[in-house]
């Protein structure tokens, strides 16, 4: 019974940690983008104020049932993804952060990471806003683009380490060093896929501000938008921790985790801050070009090396 309650406390603590760190990263990103544009930028806690304000707004619009539960589906998917990613490993400060891992969770995660976007797409379809519909079709096309190199990189890792579990990957890395160095092509493919996954920079075709009127969330105001922002913060953190886990052997305490995730997060952010937006077909062609090539190279490397 004691262990059960420890697990529950661990889940709540993980979600809180993910939200706080994700929202702080969001604020830092706004600050960094502002600095690259020679502005001062908002304070780092601006996202918390925004979310608090949005939760205190009324939400008197209703387009139907799917629209009502779409943000809830998004946050469910984010929290579920987070539950299956080991946040901290070993005997760190919080030994209960290993969550719900099981064998084969990497394949499960690949499916689960799409679930939130698909739920949102269903809900957005009900609002009937043409901008939102265009945004959804762009976002799903982009997903077809970046999922291919990402899955290829994961398959290469699975072939190389002969396991499909994240904890298994980390045990492999304990013995053989970081997979980032022992499987470099997979890392390159995954990082290039990550550029699209975070929707920054040249790949912000789905949310295209000033082109699509903020895209998919354009009919969602007030508490819906607050839920979506919360979900986005948690999901960004979960994705970063997943990357750190499978390529950089996770982190044993909070400071190392923050350093590793922040360094990794700066790749899409800084690339995005200086890049203009692609068109959708350019973005997809990008992902089916070099990233897919590196993914194929990674699989060949993993089989024959």
């Amino acid at each position: 019974m004691d262990e059960f309650w420890m697990k529950i406390i661990g889940f709540v603590a993980t979600v809180l940690l993910a939200f706080v760190v994700g929202a702080v990263y969001g604020g830092l990103v706004r600050k960094i983008i502002a600095r690259t544009q020679n502005r001062i930028g908002p304070p780092w806690y601006q996202n918390f104020i925004d979310i608090l304000k949005l939760y205190s707004k009324s939400s008197a619009i209703n387009h139907g049932f799917m629209q009502h539960i779409a943000p809830a589906m998004a946050i469910t998917a984010s929290v579920t993804v987070l539950m299956f990613v080991p946040v901290l490993t070993g005997d760190g400060w919080f030994p209960w952060f290993e969550n719900l891992n099981f064998k084969g969770d990497l394949i499960f995660l690949v499916y689960m990471m799409v679930f939130g976007s698909l739920g949102m797409a269903l809900g957005i379809g009900q609002t009937g806003n043409p901008n939102a519909a265009i945004g959804v079709s762009r976002g799903l096309s982009m997903m077809v683009g970046y999922e291919i190199p990402f899955v290829m990189a994961l398959v290469a890792l699975m072939v190389q380490t002969e396991t499909t579990s994240i904890t298994g990957l980390m045990e492999y890395q304990d013995q053989h060093g970081w997979l980032m160095f022992s499987s470099p092509f997979a890392f390159i493919a995954a990082v290039m896929a990550m550029l699209g996954m975070f929707h920054y920079g040249p790949f912000d075709v789905a949310f295209a501000p000033s082109e699509l009127a903020s895209g998919p969330p354009s009919e969602f105001g007030g508490k819906y938008l607050a839920l979506m922002m919360t979900s986005g913060s948690i999901f960004a953190f979960a994705k970063l921790v997943l990357f750190v886990d499978i390529f950089m052997n996770g982190a044993s305490n909070l400071i190392i985790l923050v350093i590793k995730t922040l360094v990794l997060y700066m790749i899409p952010v800084l690339y995005g801050a200086v890049s203009p937006r692609y068109r959708t077909e350019q973005a997809i062609r990008y992902f089916w070009g070099w990233p897919t090539f590196f993914g194929a190279l990674a699989i060949i490397f993993a089989i024959y090396y």
């Binding site: 706004r30 502002a34 544009q37 020679n38 502005r39 001062i40 930028g41 908002p42 304070p43 601006q46 104020i49 925004d50 608090l52 304000k53 205190s56 707004k57 009324s58 939400s59 008197a60 619009i61 901008n131 501000p209 000033s210 009127a213 903020s214 969330p217 354009s218 009919e219 969602f220 105001g221 007030g222 938008l225």
Partner: protein
């Protein structure tokens, strides 16, 4: 609207702080005043450091920024945008044209006093107001939100018949959905 109960005052303080420091703006840029918004947004005056942000849809916005004169044709769109916004919502009248018609005061196709059609919380005077004036108007709005004075939406709900009568005087073919906000 501020609450009377003492127990609610702390809630008012927190929501007032959050609302005043995170203003999402929907700039209704049909008037000439909208040209003063880009300098206020970009690196010279950078209004994002106070938490202001431009939003593209009325669903997500808190502040409706009416930048300059309104033709009788665009008034309909402004009213629709305003009624789709979620409470609490505020309106800023920008430039002389929204106050008394400005240089278009005797024009046949512009409205003169914006306050007769939608409730305005803050006016920014000038033709054009410079970015400093825009920022000072927004600071004034922040102070009003903190004090709980910026309750234009409530005024609109209470005096809906008066506003509707004024609007229908201008918009002859009134085919608008009723929003139950």
């Amino acid at each position: 609207m501020p609450n009377d109960k003492n127990s609610q005052k702390i809630v008012d303080m927190i929501t007032g702080f959050a609302r005043s420091n995170s203003l999402f703006m929907l700039a209704y840029g049909t008037g000439c005043g909208d040209i003063e918004i880009p300098p206020a947004m970009t690196s010279r005056y950078d209004w994002e450091r106070f938490g202001y942000r431009k939003m593209a849809t009325p669903r997500q916005a808190d502040v409706l920024l009416i930048s300059g004169y309104l033709a009788t044709k665009t008034l309909k769109r402004v009213i629709r945008s305003y009624e789709q916004m979620q409470e609490p919502k505020y309106v800023i009248g920008f430039g002389s044209c929204t106050i008394n018609g400005g240089m278009y005061w005797d024009s046949y196709n512009t409205i003169n006093m914006l306050d007769h059609y939608i409730p305005v919380d803050v006016y920014i005077n000038g033709c054009m107001p410079r970015p400093e004036a825009v920022m000072s108007g927004l600071f004034e709005l922040q102070e009003m939100i903190k004090r709980g004075d910026a309750n234009g939406a409530q005024k609109y709900r209470e005096n809906l018949e008066w506003y509707r009568a004024n609007q229908k005087k201008i918009i002859k073919n009134w085919k608008m959905p009723d929003y139950n906000w």
